[in-house]
Subunit: 158 residues, 2 copies
């Protein structure tokens, strides 16, 4: 089980955009340069975040990305699901209904106990990521970083 | 992010072995047949569970697998980590220290806020899986399944 590198990239970019001057956008080259990320690969993740309604993409010569909502209204889970998709990591194949031990369908009206507990664990993971917003994330930056990144992103914004 | 199919297989097999007569082993063919699983592919997961100390492998003509500990002492997380390995799904690449926005190393003594929250979510997931044992799992079977599986596994055991 492995999360895409795009999760780290997307969260850092969202946190950086949270510090951009209101209404301004940052080009993907500006975001990529800030963290030394490959532009074309980052672009795919930024597009996924725009499709998921986390970012707003502005086209044209002064175009770029900004957060689609205030940073306090975007959870870490929103970004993770934008990049990874909402599919749970465990997908029950109902093997209890197969083989010499096959359980008859009438005994399988309730979800399999294994499916149920994996779903519960997935919910605990998502709840944890839903409890933190992009605004919270920026508040947890070490002293001075918020101000420094705000300055840098203002220069990159248009 | 996706868990290996082996997680479902491993948990079902561990739950089945929890019902085997004490001290008896079940051959991999017996486990595979119960759930109509491909024997050679299942064998890899059973071996991984044995390496992780979840199963005990007995070699020879009357060999096979049994649980290495009482089912109340094996957690679902033990099985999941045996199959998936203990590596967390998120691995921080410290991109905060790269690019035009690079944070100096002296400001990076504490883990990145993003790394910290992803680690916290992973802990919530593992805590949830650690809270359930293989014995609990069998207790959650629908009525009659425990007895039926115990009968079937006794026939397959040697």
């Amino acid at each position: 089980m492995k999360l895409s590198q795009g999760v780290e990239w997307g969260l850092h970019c969202a946190a950086l955009l949270a510090l951009a001057p209101p209404g301004m956008t940052v080009r993907r080259e500006g975001l990529a340069g800030h963290y030394a990320l490959p532009v074309t690969y980052l672009a795919k993740h930024l597009q996924a975040m725009a499709r998921a309604g986390v970012l707003h993409a502005v086209t044209g010569p002064r175009g770029g990305y900004r957060l689609a909502r205030p940073p306090g209204d975007i959870t870490v889970l929103d970004v993770v699901e934008a990049i990874e998709g909402p599919a749970p990591p465990f997908v029950c194949q109902e093997i209890r209904q197969r083989g010499t031990g096959a359980v008859p369908p009438e005994s399988c009206r309730r979800p399999c106990a294994i499916d149920a507990l994996m779903t519960q664990a997935d919910r605990a993971w998502r709840d944890s990521l839903r409890a933190v917003t992009i605004a919270d994330l920026v508040d947890r930056y070490p002293p001075g970083l918020r101000e420094r990144n705000a300055e840098l992103v203002a220069k990159a914004a248009s």
